[in-house]
């Protein structure tokens, strides 16, 4: 896109304009997607509870999220008198901004990536580690007991699960031999096939087909399961939504928030969930590649495949939210530190040993 604008502008300006256009091209559809995915979440949740869900505003209730958005925009922003005003207003902005930032390195198609950087995966880790500040600052600046408890829980929870996510991602990086998100997706191109182990099957239909995605790899499949669960803990989704457990903490860190500040948390949370779905799709399920390495499937644009995968993972997130009861806090910590951490550490050793044995890095 830079070349396109460089026809009329000096290079620096063209680069700037192209980058801003790229940001808008990602952020605006993403915001629309978040509004729609909130509706989808409520519909799925309602269907699992044998209810109808939102069905009044617009056809099939499709405009429900926009009506809600209009409602909060017209409400008054209430700032508690004892709150730390600046930080109180800064916290939702941090949450929302951070939720959007990590999308910069997600490859939407083989050429469609805003920042194709060498350290893409580390960038995602760095940005997701910032997410905790929105919650912690909100909890502290509210100057209220329940938000503060929530902030304490959030900081412990997010740090714990980031550790195991780091180890899981190392396994992926070892296999892909790169931190670049696009290279990781390309490394999954025909990554798994039975023909690799049984050369007889090469070219045979069904059994000989190659799968695009690390998830079909027996060594990485358990990593994906752990990544999915850790992702739920990292985004604070049910069954790990202890930071906003309404039976104990009212609404957790959001208790004192109203109006647009509350809406920013709402949007940020769903943007984070969509990001986790996109990471699942990109790192383990082949991203913009079709699920099977068959020429006819490549006729469908890569963006559509990525979207379908994101929607599939979002369904899993909603499904879990609707069916699994909330964890107890000590169980959450135990799962993170005593189950996921040792298992993922062991898998780093196993995967790197296996790859050295197969001469993967030679």
């Amino acid at each position: 896109m830079t070349q396109f604008f460089a026809q009329w502008l000096p290079y620096d300006w063209a680069w700037g304009v192209a980058t801003i256009c790229g940001i808008l091209l990602i952020a605006l559809p993403l915001m629309l997607g978040v509004a729609m995915i909130i509706y989808v979440d409520r519909k799925i949740w309602a269907a699992m509870a044998l209810r109808r869900g939102p069905n009044v505003v617009g056809p099939w209730g499709l405009l429900q999220s926009f009506a809600d958005g209009l409602k909060v925009a017209l409400q008054e922003t209430i700032i508690p008198s004892a709150a730390n005003k600046g930080l109180f207003l800064l916290a939702p902005i941090i949450t929302f901004t951070v939720a959007l930032m990590a999308w910069a390195v997600i490859p939407f198609n083989s050429g469609a990536i805003l920042a194709n950087i060498n350290v893409g995966l580390l960038y995602v880790l760095a940005i997701s580690s910032l997410g905790v500040y929105g919650t912690v600052i909100a909890g502290w600046s509210s100057n209220s007991k329940y938000p503060f408890f929530s902030a304490m829980r959030a900081s412990a929870q997010m740090i714990s699960y980031e550790v195991s996510i780091g180890f899981i991602l190392i396994c992926v990086v070892l296999w892909a031999k790169s931190f670049n998100m696009k290279d990781i997706v390309e490394a999954q191109h025909g990554a798994v096939s039975l023909a690799y182990w049984f050369p007889v099957l090469d070219g045979v239909p069904v059994l000989g087909w190659k799968i695009n995605g690390f998830v079909a790899n027996p060594l990485l499949f358990p990593m994906w399961v752990m990544f999915l669960i850790s992702g739920m803990a990292e985004t604070g989704r049910a069954p790990f939504d202890l930071t906003e457990a309404e039976s104990e903490l009212v609404a957790g860190y959001q208790t004192e928030y109203s109006s647009m500040a509350f809406a920013l948390y709402w949007l940020g949370e769903y943007a984070n969930v969509l990001l986790m779905c996109a990471l699942n799709a990109t790192l383990f399920w082949g991203g913009y590649l079709p699920p099977l390495d068959i020429p006819v499937l490549y006729l469908i644009p890569g963006f559509i495949w990525l979207l379908l995968k994101i929607l599939f993972f979002f369904f899993i997130f909603s499904w879990v939210k609707a069916t699994v009861p909330r964890y107890r806090y000590d169980q959450l910590m135990r799962l993170g530190w005593k189950v996921f951490l040792p298992v993922s550490l062991m898998f780093v050793v196993v995967v790197s040993g296996f790859l050295m044995w197969k001469g993967h890095f030679a």
Partner: protein, 205 residues
């Protein structure tokens, strides 16, 4: 052009947030300014072409260390008056430390200018050879030339970690701890009982 703007923006923000870290009256604000300083320092490193170090700075310092700082500072009930009373007492020591750090910095720059160490290129750009990414370059150095030093650093960290656990861990008696294995092994059939009382009958609990 953009690099120059970005450099001055980041550099100004680092210095400003560093100053506010020590000027802020509230310790929580201090930690938040410190986080901003870390973040902008990471931005400067990206400009130098050291993107790997920049990302590690954000992940380790902003994502883990500063969160723990914040956690501790928020939990502590700090008496601000007492803190400020100790300031003048420690000021000379702080001043000496600042001078030592400044001298070290000047020495480093001087040695670099004199060309005593072959760091970087003559123009001052990063030393990364073409075609080799940051991560590969650092990995190749750490795991070959500096392998033993690297391992030693790891062992020191491990010792520190075990030491922290040993110092804080105490065996308490009379605590009713949880038996996780027992909790997990419990089945719904042991925990619940299905009763169908007739109309007007009570239920034996």
């Amino acid at each position: 052009m953009i690099q120059v703007i970005a450099f001055y923006l980041f550099a100004f923000m680092v210095i400003a947030s560093g100053a506010f870290t020590i000027l802020a009256r509230n310790p929580v604000h201090s930690v938040l300014w410190l986080i901003l300083a870390f973040f902008n320092a990471a931005g400067l490193m990206v400009l130098c072409g050291a993107e790997f170090i920049a990302m590690l700075l954000v992940i380790v310092y902003v994502g883990a260390v500063a969160v723990l700082f914040l956690f501790v500072v928020m939990m502590l009930d700090i008496d601000f008056a007492e803190l400020r009373a100790g300031f003048m007492k420690n000021a000379p020591l702080g001043f000496v430390l600042a001078i030592v750090l400044l001298m070290e910095l000047l020495l480093g720059v001087g040695a670099y200018k004199a060309g005593a160490l072959k760091l970087g290129t003559a123009s001052g750009a990063a030393a990364t050879p073409a075609g080799v990414s940051n991560i590969e370059a650092i990995g190749a150095l750490l795991y070959t030339r500096y392998l033993f030093l690297f391992e030693a650093a790891g062992v020191i960290l491990l010792v520190a970690m075990i030491g922290a656990i040993v110092l804080t861990h105490r065996q308490r008696t009379g605590v009713r701890g949880q038996d996780i294995a027992k909790q997990i092994a419990r089945k719904p059939s042991e925990a619940t009982r299905n009763v169908k009382p007739g109309v007007g009958e009570g239920v034996q609990l």
